[in-house]
């Protein structure tokens, strides 16, 4: 098995979301959400707490099923070709999800298996990924013994094991101290530069966004604006522009 299958259409964006909605009972958490993440780009999904970022991540990763709209990962329709679409995504969820009883190597081995990678190929890829996220020295440590920042890096490494084309990170820097946050962000930006992985980075922190980043501004389940951060901000700071657009949400 090759870790990444041939792309059906290399011209398609890494992620395409069109007209997606989702509701919990009567509460509509997502309303007609549309955006795209171009290949090799870093896109920030910016929104206050409760804006619908995590729900959107759950819909994109098919934890929730969206009955309206279209989601494509690297040209694969999530509903009709869910296996192909999911194989192209690496996901880091908001809540940490390492098995704390197992060592880092065991965690990575398990995750590789969940993507059909085993044996020598898995071992080689695990070493590669450990070097990428700077955790070679911690491979035999139990996940519970890793610091918050190291656990996050481990989760990013885990998400990269199957060489995804699209990396989805839901508030990956949340709960980390300033230094660990900067390290995680630098790691992800470095991966984009080196590996060409497209990234959707959900956050509510404006200081994680660079002027050239693509921003999708989500508010109360709706995309209010999208474009380059510098363009959205105009003469103001991004924070001021965000507050003006959302009527003061924080």
């Amino acid at each position: 098995m090759s870790l990444t299958a041939p792309r059906p259409d290399s011209g398609s964006p890494a992620l395409r979301v069109e007209g997606v909605g989702h509701s919990f009972g009567r509460f509509q958490a997502l309303k007609n959400v549309s955006f795209a993440v171009p290949r090799g780009a870093f896109a920030a999904l910016l929104g206050a707490n409760g804006a619908g970022k995590t729900t959107l991540f759950s819909v994109i990763t098919r934890l929730y099923d969206s009955r309206s709209g279209l989601i494509e990962a690297a040209g694969h329709d999530l509903r009709r070709q869910s296996g192909e679409a999911l194989a192209r995504m690496g996901v880091v969820f908001q809540s940490r999800a390492l098995d704390l009883d197992l060592t880092l190597r065991q965690n990575l081995t398990y995750h590789a298996a969940l993507h059909g990678i085993s044996g020598r190929r898995a071992r080689a890829r695990i070493e590669e990924v450990a070097a990428m996220v700077g955790l070679e020295e911690k491979m035999e440590a139990r996940a519970a013994a890793l610091s918050g920042g190291q656990q996050r890096r481990a989760e990013i490494g885990r998400a990269l094991l199957h060489k995804p084309e699209l990396l989805l990170l839901d508030e990956a820097a949340a709960g980390l101290d300033v230094r660990a946050r900067a390290e995680v962000l630098a790691l992800v930006r470095g991966l984009i530069a080196r590996e060409g992985v497209s990234t959707l980075w959900a956050t509510h922190n404006f200081d994680e966004i660079e002027p050239e980043d693509r921003v999708i501004l989500l508010h109360k389940g709706e995309v209010l604006a999208q474009g380059r951060a510098a363009e959205l901000a105009g003469d103001q700071t991004l924070t001021e522009a965000f507050l003006a657009l959302t009527g003061g949400a924080s």
């Binding site: 990763t61 296996g83 969820f93 009883d101 065991q106 969940l114 059909g116």
Partner: protein, 265 residues
């Protein structure tokens, strides 16, 4: 078809085995429970509960011998519920999401998880049978081989029930209800501790409930298999319930259907 299915299956089995080895308390707890019943409860009842010759036994048996297959099924029952508990825990900690974003279909992932839990519980049953043998509960030697398919099938049924229950439970705290409303009624309203004819004598209604209890059929399937005999009725009941429970689980964990649609991981 996506390659690597076997690698994914083996990975899920490996992780469950690893967790089991790391959680030695879980193994001991699973073993101590039936042993307490065998050493204390059965010893006490041996003198008061008379058993006539009933299939698959060809002679009078001591109560310890009668109760042993029921205790094997008890291990499978608790193990099935334990895996249900760990599914709820995984959902609360977020580990479940990691499993469910794998590119393989959910029925396959859930089936692999189920197989992994059955593998672990079968090891527990054999450990129990070994100790029971030292206690002079001695089925025929071939019975230890013949019982394996019965253990696997019963384990699949009870594990699938556990998975189904896990899909309906919102929080770990709600799990106490499973003990009261599922485990205890299933265990006590069955042929695990007393033969059905005894129950019929005291309460025809309870006898009827026991007959419809899938756990009774798991116990009887194991009991007959342990004595190298095949009970078709129990086999059909256990196989049918296993398929039904698993189908319900798959529906409940389907992102487009079931409670999962409303709640997610």
């Amino acid at each position: 078809m996506r390659p690597g299915w076997f690698a994914a299956f083996r990975g899920i089995l490996w992780r469950e085995g690893l967790r089991f080895l790391r959680q030695k308390g879980r193994f001991l707890a699973a073993l101590v429970r039936p042993l307490v019943w065998l050493f204390i409860f059965a010893a006490g009842f041996r003198s008061v509960l008379g058993l006539s010759i009933i299939p698959p036994y060809q002679t009078y048996v001591l109560y310890d011998t009668y109760v042993a297959p029921g205790l094997c099924a008890m291990i499978l029952l608790f193990s099935g519920m334990q895996s249900s508990l760990s599914m709820v825990y995984d959902r609360e900690t977020g580990a479940m999401r990691t499993l469910l974003v794998s590119p393989y279909p959910r029925w396959f992932l859930l089936g692999s998880k189920l197989a992994a839990s059955v593998m672990v519980s079968c090891l527990q049953v054999y450990a129990f049978l070994f100790i029971a043998w030292l206690w002079r509960v001695e089925p025929p030697l071939w019975g230890y081989v013949a019982v394996l398919p019965a253990l696997i099938l019963s384990g699949l049924m009870l594990g699938a029930l556990g998975l189904f229950i896990s899909s309906t439970i919102r929080q770990l705290e709600n799990f106490a209800g499973v003990m009261n409303f599922v485990i205890f009624p299933m265990f006590f309203a069955s042929s695990a501790l007393y033969p059905l004819w005894r129950i019929r004598e005291s309460s025809p209604l309870l006898h009827l409930i026991c007959q419809w209890n899938p756990f009774t059929h798991a116990v009887e399937l194991i009991r007959f298999a342990l004595y190298c005999r095949f009970d078709l009725k129990s086999f059909l009941a256990v196989a049918g319930c296993a398929m039904a429970f698993f189908a319900l689980t798959v529906v409940m964990y389907d992102p487009a259907r079931g409670l999962w649609r409303k709640r997610g991981a």
